[in-house]
């Protein structure tokens, strides 16, 4: 319950017969302080007449911080009809769901997930006042889905015991943790799907302001724990974190095998409440913690948490990291792992000291490991390749005129492989400039966003296809009327030339709007 909140239960019927009595009772319970917030709990209210409504208005007049909660559908109808739902905060009653005897299919730090029937699961929260959390998770899950992450979105909020739960439709699902525990032969498949999903998430650019920057959270953690380190190591750690490059790419924030599920034949990511933007190292940290960090002193912890032994967890971490970095080079893997561990120990030390969740021995193990790592680590940044080796012909870049030269250089480097006549090369440069500048000027204005440029070359005959993709406002430049080239200079308009030229010098220009993306394709046969 919030501070300075008075909760009053309304029961049965309130009408002209008993309203005077009820009102007297209620006003006797109301506080002196008129700024107090008053909550009328209508869960057991069956009927309220206009005399009762007038009483409600009298209370609200004296206590502006006022709301009615737990309103059943009959009473809600009355409040809606009389316009009360617009005059004050009215919260509907939640459907009550019992999880007694239901199978627990997931458990995290903040609550449990139960299967309530064949098609539905309910995620419960330890926090009794979880409505804010539920709302937040719903919003970020919706955002993630729109941006291309396969996830489940809750369709209902229900009352579970003293707290709340969100209901998801999740058919025949099982987590990767369960698959690894029960079907060890699927280990490699799990690694490949898991890493594929991670790369997919990290490849997504999130519009500014939609998700928090995870780096800020980590700076806060390091600031809290840095004084536990000897000498100037704490300052060095803080500097390392501050120097991690900013990124607008999506981060899941808690990417371990209990949060990846196979539903039917579809792989989904769940538990979206930690979604953020930032450098990929932050996701690798949550992974290292889940598989190795938490259980470094006591391997039993990972068995209890993930359901498979510590040896499997370590192997899964190592193989996933190698696949994520597209390398088998153990030195390279180790170098990145050291960066990840540095940040992991900082996270674990802060987490354990704040929640008092680790014994002295574990804490000093983490601390000593961190102290040993810090002198060797000079940067927490590393090269990532989200392309799985096949899309090096693609460039994702901020759509701004300043990046034009980078785009042209990229296209020319792609054309370098073929024997492109200088004239055709210049024509393609021209088309690339016109289209990219158009995107830079209009697609996201006044905001900023990214564009993807892809160059494909097919042989026999040699044909170059250049594709531009942006997630800006839908706009088909081909719909624009061509300028009338027969007009005199006085009559000629200044605009519209770029796309016109592009159409003239390329063999084919086509546009489609698909999955929230403007896709413009240019083709030229050499």
């Amino acid at each position: 319950m919030e501070q300075n909140e008075t909760r009053i239960k309304l029961t049965g019927r309130i009408d002209s017969g008993n309203v005077a009595e009820v009102e007297q009772e209620i006003f006797a319970k109301l506080p002196e302080d008129k700024s107090a917030s008053i909550v009328l709990d209508a869960e057991e209210l069956e009927y309220i007449s206009s005399a009762g409504l007038r009483m409600v208005l009298r209370i609200k007049k004296e206590f502006p911080e006022f709301k009615i909660v737990g309103v059943g559908s009959d009473v809600y109808e009355i409040l809606e009809m009389t316009g009360f739902t617009e005059m004050m905060t009215v919260e509907k009653a939640y459907r009550v769901v019992s999880v007694e005897g239901c199978e627990v299919i997931g458990e995290g730090f903040n609550g449990k997930v139960y299967r309530i029937d064949g098609d539905n699961v309910v995620k419960t929260y330890k926090n009794a006042d979880a409505l804010g959390e539920i709302q937040h998770e719903r919003e970020v899950a919706r955002l993630a889905l729109i941006l291309g992450v396969p996830t489940a979105i809750s369709y209902d909020v229900v009352k579970v015991g003293d707290s709340y739960g969100s209901v998801f439709e999740l058919l025949n699902s099982k987590s990767f943790a369960k698959i690894l525990a029960k079907e060890p032969e699927k280990f490699d498949w799990c690694v490949s799907e898991y890493v594929g999903m991670l790369k997919k998430i990290h490849g997504i650019t999130v519009p500014e302001g939609k998700l928090p920057r995870i780096k800020q959270k980590f700076i806060g953690k390091v600031e809290r724990m840095k004084d536990l380190l000897p000498g100037d190591l704490g300052e060095k750690l803080l500097k390392l974190v501050e120097e991690i490059p900013e990124s607008d790419h999506m981060i899941h924030g808690d990417f371990h095998t209990k949060n990846i599920v196979l539903a039917g034949d579809e792989v989904l990511v769940i538990d979206m409440d930690t979604l953020a933007v930032g450098h990929p190292i932050f996701d690798l940290v949550s992974m290292y913690n889940a598989y190795v960090g938490y259980s470094e002193k006591d391997p039993e912890i990972v068995l209890g948490f993930q359901g498979y032994p510590a040896e499997v967890a370590r192997r899964f971490w190592h193989k996933s990291l190698a696949a994520y970095l597209n390398t088998q080079d153990e030195d390279k893997i180790r170098a990145v792992e050291d960066k990840v561990r540095t940040l992991s120990y900082a996270f674990l030390i802060d987490w354990a000291t704040r929640h008092n969740t680790a014994d002295e021995e574990t804490l000093s193990l983490w601390k000593n490991n961190l102290i040993a790592l810090l002198p060797q680590v000079e940067s927490l940044d590393f090269e990532t390749d989200l392309s799985e080796g096949k899309s090096r012909n693609e460039l994702e870049i901020e759509a701004s005129v300043e990046k034009l030269q980078t785009v042209i250089d990229f296209v020319n480097s792609q054309l370098g492989a073929i024997d492109c006549p200088p004239k055709a090369q210049m024509q393609m440069e021209l088309a690339v400039e016109e289209i990219f500048v158009n995107i830079a000027h209009y697609a996201y204005a006044p905001e900023k966003g990214n564009a993807t440029v892809r160059v494909e070359v097919s042989e026999d005959p040699v044909m170059v296809t250049i594709t531009f993709i942006d997630r800006g406002i839908p706009y088909d430049p081909l719909k624009r009327e061509d300028p009338d080239v027969t007009l005199s200079s006085e009559e000629r308009e200044i605009g519209g030339l770029g796309i016109f030229m592009t159409k003239k010098i390329m063999d084919d220009v086509s546009y489609e709007y698909k999955d929230g993306q403007n896709i413009l394709t240019l083709k030229k046969t050499l």
């Binding site: 021209l430 016109e434 300028p483 200079s489 200044i494 030339l497 030229m501």
Partner: protein
């Protein structure tokens, strides 16, 4: 891009060299604006112009519009690549090209 400029009384010669594109066109536009007062004969020498995009064409078109009211404008030493762009866009018909 660099711009070579020669000004004699009411005659102005501008020779943009290199690339006249989205990034460099504003520079040429500014040079024209600052020097066009009282000019009755404006000449662009395009001998060393390698590339022109629509942003560059727009600058040439506004210069032509301005000169329509105060004198004459012509382009000389137009190379083949640039000429083709003028032809595609109909600029070869509205600009005076020598």
């Amino acid at each position: 891009m660099t711009i070579r400029m020669e000004k004699q009384a009411d005659k102005l010669l501008l020779a943009p060299e290199g690339r006249l594109d989205t990034v460099t066109a504003p520079e040429l536009e500014k040079t024209i604006k600052e020097n066009l007062d009282g000019v009755t004969a404006l000449t662009f020498d395009l001998a060393d112009l390698e590339y022109v995009s629509s942003a560059g064409l727009r600058v040439l078109l506004s210069a032509q519009k301005a000169m329509n009211g105060q004198g004459e404008m012509k382009l000389c030493n137009v190379n083949e690549t640039i000429m083709e762009i003028f032809e595609v866009t109909g600029f070869s018909d509205i600009l005076t090209i020598e």
